[in-house]
């Protein structure tokens, strides 16, 4: 079954067309790696999937588990099981990380964390940040850990990860990625992961890659090899190489 289907999607920001009639099918239980140079539309694609109103869907459809969610609001999509870990999450003054985590868990703010939840918070090395305001004064790695922890607490069916491996130290990345992989395996959920550095490929199992170039999608198998080719020969060469799957996965 497809968890996410994107059909002929055209997306504009202001008057500028960023994605032009792209198609994408993501299967349930699989992780996908999204490559593409700066400005190729990776963030636009992710933002269109979460329903960010700044990104205008000009034409085409987004189907999530066969539901047409093209015009759904951000919160409705997140309730359905789409979750994002932002590359640069905002600082929110006055809201404690513990409160945000409780909101993710759909707990009352007066409720305590369960022992298992506490263990996970501790594993993410965030116990001492619980009383801090969300992302205020957090380092890059701390923000990433907080993003992924929120995501795991939200228990999504589709995980959208915008550069989870940038600005993170090796230890943090190992931890984040192994917890993500564990969650994906245990729940049979799917992930779409944007990466520039490719570091996360070491830790997350993925058979499929997608390259965004000039507003179009190109499908591949074996993300590690795709990444090697991109590093060696650049994106233009990559989209012409033999690894490409013409008809999609």
């Amino acid at each position: 079954m497809n968890i996410l289907t994107i059909r002929d999607l055209k997306v504009k920001v202001g008057n500028k067309v960023i994605l032009d009639r792209i198609n994408l099918n993501l299967k349930a239980g699989e992780s996908y790696i999204l490559f593409g140079p700066n400005g190729s539309g990776k963030s636009t694609l992710i933002n269109s999937i979460i329903g960010n109103p700044l990104y205008e869907i000009d034409s085409g459809k987004i189907l999530f588990m066969d539901k047409n969610i093209t015009n759904w609001s951000v919160d409705k999509r997140s309730k359905l099981g789409i979750s994002i870990a932002f590359q640069q999450p905002p600082e929110i003054m006055g809201i404690k990380l513990s409160d945000l985590l409780k909101l993710c868990l759909e707990k009352n703010l007066r409720d305590e964390f369960t022992e298992n939840e506490k263990k996970l918070i501790e594993a993410f090395n965030l116990t001492k940040f619980l009383d801090r305001e969300v992302n205020v004064g957090f380092s890059g790695g701390e923000r990433k850990r907080a993003e992924i922890l929120q995501m795991l607490f939200l228990k999504p069916k589709l995980l959208l990860l915008d550069e989870p491996d940038s600005g993170v130290d090796v230890e943090s990345l190992k931890l984040i990625a192994s917890k993500l992989q564990q969650y994906i395996e245990e729940t049979g959920s799917s992930a779409l992961i944007v990466t520039h550095k490719g570091d996360i490929l070491e830790y997350v199992k993925s058979k499929y890659a997608c390259v965004l170039l000039e507003g179009k999608t190109h499908c591949f198998v074996d993300p590690k090899r795709v990444y090697e080719t991109i590093k060696k020969s650049g994106y233009e060469k990559c989209v012409e190489c033999e690894l490409r799957v013409k008809e999609g996965w």
């Binding site: 700044l54 919160d75 997140s78 932002f86 929110i92 003054m93 909101l103």
Partner: protein
């Protein structure tokens, strides 16, 4: 209403209104209580455990008991300052006199409540608060208008004396109604090593509040903090300022204001720090959120330096709620309305007030109630 011997004798409706503004009926968690309704103090009591550490009584009674108190009355504020001070100088119905005795560390807060229950009343009070040398205390003071009363005005003079190495944290919660005119006139004198924290919280609609309390940091190493959380709505007009005069060597002032304006509210947040001693330091911060096009926020910071080596800074930001923050919370399953109210609630950050845990919890509950009812 005559003098009461116990809070339990006070009519339930009055206690209920007082409770909404932080007055705890369970006196065990308070060191002392004073309740002034309309034009008379109907209750004042020191919790047994704190006898000999604090005094709390009506100002008129205190003036009769202590002739020396005249040395403190009208010393920081001029009687002829404006029409409101003149009125109180002419005739006043009492108020609270609070004294923390030398060296006393008072772990539970003192509480006082000034309430208006009669239509068209002009309440005039004079409060004198003395934190004697080396003492340490928290006071929560609420000004409340009974919900059945529409039109009224409140004129309140407050003079604070923070003596050598004393620490006084004073939190004032205003709970007026849409037709009330409010004119507090406050001033504080801080001696060597003294520390005064003055917190102001105004959450409910009010017709018009204008105040500009001043703190004179005359002592060496004296320190003042003014913190305000202003939630203006329904055509409220709030002109709230604070002034710190840094006369003492190494004296210090910090001011933090959080202002929210919605539904036609008008907020002016002023702040003035005056550095008259070369080693004085100050910082002023104002953040304002404007929710709709009918409302108005103006931030007026003023920094004055009269000696080289004075260090005074300010930062101010007013604007709408960040769309990025709303979107962020919506990706965490909150609806747009929930996201906005969560951000507003977070913005009214009680943590800026330096309150002890239990009191902070209580004040947070009061803010929660307001946040939920909007």
């Amino acid at each position: 209403m005559g003098q009461k011997k116990a809070l339990t004798e006070v009519p339930h409706k009055i206690l209920e209104e007082a409770y909404k503004a932080g007055i705890d009926q369970n006196e065990e968690t308070r060191s002392g209580t004073l309740l002034h309704v309309d034009q008379a103090t109907i209750y004042s009591k020191v919790n047994d455990f704190f006898e000999g550490k604090i005094e709390i009584m009506d100002t008129q009674d205190a003036l009769q008991r202590y002739s020396w108190l005249n040395e403190y009355r009208w010393k920081l504020i001029e009687k002829v300052k404006d029409e409101f001070t003149k009125k109180v100088a002419k005739d006043f119905s009492g108020g609270y006199f609070i004294r923390i005795l030398p060296g006393a560390e008072v772990v539970f807060p003192l509480q006082s409540c000034l309430m208006i229950t009669r239509e068209n009343l002009e309440q005039r009070v004079h409060n004198i608060i003395i934190a004697e040398e080396g003492s340490k205390a928290h006071i929560i003071s609420s000004c409340v208008q009974h919900s059945t009363v529409k039109n009224a005005s409140h004129l309140g003079i407050s003079e604070f004396y923070v003596k050598k190495n004393a620490m006084l944290n004073f939190t004032m919660i205003h709970n007026w109604s849409e037709e009330t005119l409010v004119r507090p006139r406050s001033a504080a004198l801080i001696e060597d090593g003294g520390e005064f924290v003055s917190n102001y919280i105004c959450l409910n609609p009010v017709k018009d509040v204008q105040m500009y309390p001043v703190a004179y940091c005359n002592g060496e190493g004296s320190k003042v903090n003014f913190n305000s959380i202003l939630y203006g709505h329904k055509n409220s007009s709030l002109d709230i300022g604070s002034k710190a005069v840094l006369n003492g060597k190494k004296s210090k002032a910090e001011m933090v204001t959080r202002a929210i304006a919605r539904k036609g509210a008008k907020i002016i947040a002023r702040g003035l720090i005056e550095g008259n001693n070369s080693e004085s330091k100050g910082h002023l911060e104002c953040r304002g959120l404007i929710i709709d096009d009918e409302s108005f926020i103006q931030s007026i910071p003023e920094l004055i330096a009269r000696r080289k080596g004075v260090e005074i800074t300010h930062e101010a930001a007013v604007g709408k709620i960040s769309e990025t923050e709303i979107l962020y919370l919506m990706t965490r399953r909150l609806t747009q309305e929930q996201a906005i109210s969560t951000i507003i609630r977070g913005f009214m950050d009680v943590d800026i007030m330096g309150l002890p845990n239990s009191l902070s919890k209580e004040v947070n509950q009061i803010v929660d109630l307001v946040a939920q009812s909007n």
